[in-house]
């Protein structure tokens, strides 16, 4: 089935005119029709627009002008936090009402220019705040491997859609693990680029200094191909970095002999599921067999990462989400004066977790508390970054579990925000340090069979090495070939 192809498999076929973009797109739409009722990865999708894009691409191919379109005909689903012109933009929140984006995010422009079909609004935790997609205002997304479980979050819809072959790849965003953790829990590849690698223009900000856009794919090669398209400086984002973009896919040689892999001793913590631990240990052994050298390293400020993250991220969020006030766009609940209009609109429009974080962020920035919380968190953040830079003087990449456990049950942690926050323990340091990271499948739990993710972290702008290691490991295993689909269609 065409929807099960990887992008690298598909584009070759489209260019050779063996299959049309329309056929691929239709095959994804068919899959969505068959199974999305069970997993609810998509909040909405515009089938007519997707097919029209496919037809336009087929015309380009027919006209012989398909060169320089590395993603030719690949249907790519979009997290509901990225602006696509003419499509709804809700951030899985009620507060945006019937908002339709008047512009394309830079990554969307780049995908379209590369020949991708950009479609669908993928479910997420409201405003990317959460680790389970349970915080969506429009219903939870279910894990394709076990629909009683969460797909991870916040980009749960993106991970589930790729794992369930509803699209060939998807875009998500990662502020503290929101790409890597759901990729791990759904069994696909999820990449968070270095801060500044990919333009954030058109990404509805949760925490501006932590957010990055990245791809969900079925294998590492596709992640490399997508990253190459997404990357590069953008005049619309002052924080994007004018660093040359390598030909990432060309670096996937399978050769990692002599590369040094760091294992942080602080990450072997209590609460780490034994099966997850075992799978990661096996993966490390596999990397050694491939010729890598394994070195124990120390990231001494790891214990402070979660606290630091929840101060920095919520502080920025409290300002970023202030614009949702019912004045210029989105849902409005009237009031007798502006203040009551704000209160009514935001009271009705935001969910509980978003409110919790806005209040937390407002608190840590308040006069009298700023120095004790925000300023101190920024200092700790610098220390965490220095931990990593120091470690990277000794090693090329760092390997850890992506998530301490496999996918948990829907509702299991939703009453305990702190437990939920701790499920990001291995992923958030990467965002605080501004480095890059990827999660890829490294095994399954026994019963039920749930994917386990391996996290590889790389130096700032070290995606090439990161992907090389991930690819070498992936190609020496069969984990990425496993599909949850059989389970779904049997039900």
């Amino acid at each position: 089935m065409l929807n099960q192809l990887t992008i690298s498999e598909l584009t070759a076929k489209v260019a050779r005119k063996e299959v049309s973009a329309r056929e691929v797109m239709q095959s994804c739409l068919d899959q969505i029709g068959r199974i999305d009722g069970q997993i609810h990865a998509f909040l909405s999708y515009d089938a007519a627009d997707a097919l029209a894009q496919a037809d336009a691409l087929d015309k380009v191919v027919a006209g012989g002008a398909a060169a320089n379109r590395p993603l030719l005909g690949a249907p790519i689903g979009i997290k509901d936090v990225l602006a696509v012109k003419g499509q709804p933009l809700n951030c899985a929140s009620k507060i945006l009402g019937k908002f339709v984006s008047p512009y394309d995010a830079t990554v969307i422009q780049r995908l379209k220019a590369a020949g991708a079909i950009v479609f669908g609004r993928l479910n997420m935790d409201e405003f990317a705040m959460g680790s389970s997609t349970e915080n969506s205002a429009f219903g939870v997304t279910r894990n394709p491997w076990d629909t009683s479980r969460i797909p991870g979050g916040s980009s749960g819809g993106s991970a589930a859609a790729v794992a369930a072959d509803e699209c060939l790849a998807a875009l998500g965003t990662d502020t503290g693990g929101s790409i890597r953790q759901p990729a791990a829990l759904c069994g696909c590849v999820g990449l968070k680029p270095t801060y500044g690698r990919v333009s954030r223009y058109g990404l509805v900000a949760f925490a501006s200094s932590l957010d990055q856009i990245g791809p969900f794919t079925k294998d590492v090669r596709d992640a490399a191909m997508l990253l190459e398209v997404l990357s590069g400086v953008d005049h619309a984002d002052s924080t994007s970095v004018p660093q040359p973009v390598p030909h990432y896919a060309a670096g996937l040689t399978g050769e990692i002999k002599g590369l040094k892999i760091g294992l942080p001793k602080e990450y072997m913590v209590g609460g780490l599921d034994p099966e997850v631990n075992q799978a990661v240990q096996n993966a490390v052994k596999q990397l050694q067999q491939l010729g890598a050298e394994v070195i124990e390293i120390s990231l001494p400020h790891t214990d402070y990462a979660v606290a630091t993250y929840y101060i920095v991220a919520t502080a920025e969020a409290s300002a970023n989400l202030a614009r949702f006030d019912g004045i210029r766009y989105g849902a409005r609940v009237e009031g007798s004066d502006p203040i009551s209009l704000y209160g009514n609109t935001r009271g009705a429009g935001f969910g509980a977790e978003v409110k919790r974080r806005i209040i937390l962020g407002t608190y840590v920035l308040s006069s009298g508390y700023y120095d004790a919380y925000y300023l101190r968190a920024q200092k700790v953040r610098t220390l965490i970054r220095q931990d990593f830079l120091k470690a990277f003087e000794k090693v090329d990449v760092i390997v850890t579990p992506t998530s301490p456990t496999a996918a948990f049950k829907i509702g299991e942690k939703s009453d305990d925000p702190l437990q939920m926050y701790l499920s990001d323990i291995f992923t958030i340091s990467c965002n605080l340090a501004g480095i890059c990271g990827v999660s890829l499948p490294c095994g399954f739990t026994a019963n039920p069979k749930l994917p386990i993710g391996l996290q590889v972290l790389g130096k700032p702008f070290g995606e090439e090495t990161l992907l090389k290691v991930a690819h070498a490991y992936e190609q020496s295993t069969r984990w990425h070939k496993e599909k949850p689909i059989g389970k779904l269609t049997r039900r």
């Binding site: 936090v81 602006a83 501006s208 200094s209 502080a315 614009r323 308040s366 006069s367």
Partner: protein
């Protein structure tokens, strides 16, 4: 007990850029509501600001004009507050690392030169404008995101008049430097006042009271003229003032409480994560410094001392910079700068206005003005004839000496010729001659006029007087 007043001003000035500070929308006044807007300045979800480099340049330039130092590291911060005119419900501003700090403004006040120190001039963004209709309200976001400079003074101002003169001097400097048009009518300048009073000799300041909502410099003066006696009255009766923000009601001519210290906003400033810190290079600063112009006061003082011009003439050349430049070209090597200034101000400028000609288009060469002055000063032509010569210069661009020669306008100083004309006049006006002889000295002027008329204005008037007097007394 005597009281003294301590005043500090926060002046907001729109910078004269082509586009807004964070997006490409036009920075222009008067467009139909919400037409100069885009996703960025409307605060749509997902947009990011990108700094307009000209806005950064004009900020630094202002720093130089206000004698500020320009730190090599400046950054932007978010100032959080909810208000319908704020598209993002935070304002991008500079909190603890502003672009310019520690300067001063010198200006003429009370017959001397006063100095007000500048704490800082920092860059921020303007907000939209609220409109209230019968049944609802609206916001025009055309102004949102326009670069705005906040110029904060030290509390060096001691009276309403001094505040007024400081503001005018500041405005002159900014217009002069090409930083802002400072058009009050168009809301390009806005001002908040901090004022307190204390007994003379007391060290600590009185309760700081902020006044908002003045929409002109004279409004600021009027508000202070109301507020200062109000505060003194409270304190001298043993009352206590406390820190608050008051609103100026221009119609009623009073200030009234807007919010007390307890109701003050907590703006929760924090560094703007969407913008990189601004770290100008040496070359960049050098480039901006090339745009620094001579300040109005310095120019006035220079014109007065270098050319011995009266203050009024110097002020004219401060106001009309091209005219001053023309004067400086004309006056090079001239023996009588004041006369050159007179011709430039009284004749050239008037004629330009009358014919609606731009100075740049005038045919009169700057070198022709001192030439004309020399012709008059040497007695070659009379002041009256000089007017005709100037008219010809203005029409044709011809040099004055050539005009005098071609038209035979040179003054007659030939004693014999003048004596003949005087005799004629005496003969024809016997009644006037009688008057003079009977003691009416003014009659001489009438006879002089007759002689000038007979000479068609060319006779040397001094010589005519001399000869007439001699003849009549003999």
């Amino acid at each position: 007990m005597e009281y003294e007043t301590v005043i500090g001003l926060e002046t907001h000035v729109q910078l004269k850029t082509k586009s807004k500070m964070w997006c490409g929308c036009a920075n222009e006044f008067g467009a139909p509501p919400n037409t100069n807007v885009c996703p960025v300045c409307l605060g749509m979800p997902g947009v990011l600001p990108v700094a307009n480099e000209e806005g950064l340049r004009l900020t630094t330039l202002t720093g130089y004009l206000l004698n500020c130092s320009v730190p090599r590291f400046a950054k932007f911060d978010r100032k959080n507050y909810f208000y319908p005119d704020a598209p993002k419900n935070y304002q991008i501003t500079q909190y603890d690392k502003p672009s310019t700090v520690s300067g001063y403004v010198d200006f003429e006040f009370n017959g001397g030169i006063s100095r007000v120190r500048i704490t800082r001039a920092h860059l921020e963004e303007d907000v939209g404008k609220n409109f209230h209709f019968d049944r609802n309200s609206g916001v025009d976001f055309n102004r949102a995101g326009v670069p705005l400079l906040e110029i904060v003074s030290e509390p060096d101002i001691t009276s309403a008049d001094m505040a007024y003169e400081y503001l005018n001097a500041l405005k002159d400097i900014l217009i002069y430097g090409g930083v802002s048009d400072c058009d009050m009518e168009k809301g390009m300048v806005r001002c908040d006042v901090n004022v307190s009073v204390r007994p003379v000799g007391q060290k600590e300041l009185g309760a700081k009271i902020e006044i908002k909502n003045m929409n002109s410099f004279s409004g600021v003066r009027k508000a202070l003229e109301y507020e200062i006696p109000r505060q003194i009255a409270v304190v001298s009766k043993g009352g206590k003032l406390s820190q608050e923000t008051r609103r100026w009601d221009d119609v009623a001519g009073i200030t009234e409480t807007m919010r007390t210290k307890e109701q003050a906003h907590d703006y929760r400033y924090f560094p703007e994560p969407d913008l990189m810190p601004f770290e100008p290079t040496e070359a960049w600063l050098e480039d901006v410094s090339k745009r620094v112009v001579e300040l109005p006061l310095a120019r006035k003082q220079r014109f007065m001392s270098a050319y011995q011009l009266p203050a009024s003439d110097a002020q004219t050349f401060v106001w009309d910079v091209p005219l001053g430049t023309y004067f400086e070209q004309a006056v090079t090597g001239a023996k009588n700068p004041k006369a050159v200034a007179n011709w430039v101000i009284n004749n050239l400028r008037a004629k330009l206005a009358e014919t609606q000609t731009a100075l740049a288009d005038t045919k009169v060469k700057p070198s022709s003005i001192p030439e004309l002055v020399a012709l008059v000063d040497s007695g070659k032509i009379s002041g009256k004839i000089a007017q005709d010569v100037f008219a010809e210069m203005f029409a044709t661009g011809e040099a004055p000496a050539k005009i005098v020669e071609a038209k035979g306008l040179a003054q007659v100083s030939d004693t014999g010729a003048i004596e003949k004309l005087c005799d004629e006049a005496i003969a024809a006006n016997s009644k006037t001659v009688e008057d003079y002889k009977s003691g009416k000295v003014a009659a001489l002027n009438s006879l002089k006029g007759q002689v000038m008329k007979l000479s068609k204005g060319k006779a040397n008037p001094a010589l005519v007087g001399e000869i007439l007097e001699k003849k009549l007394k003999s």
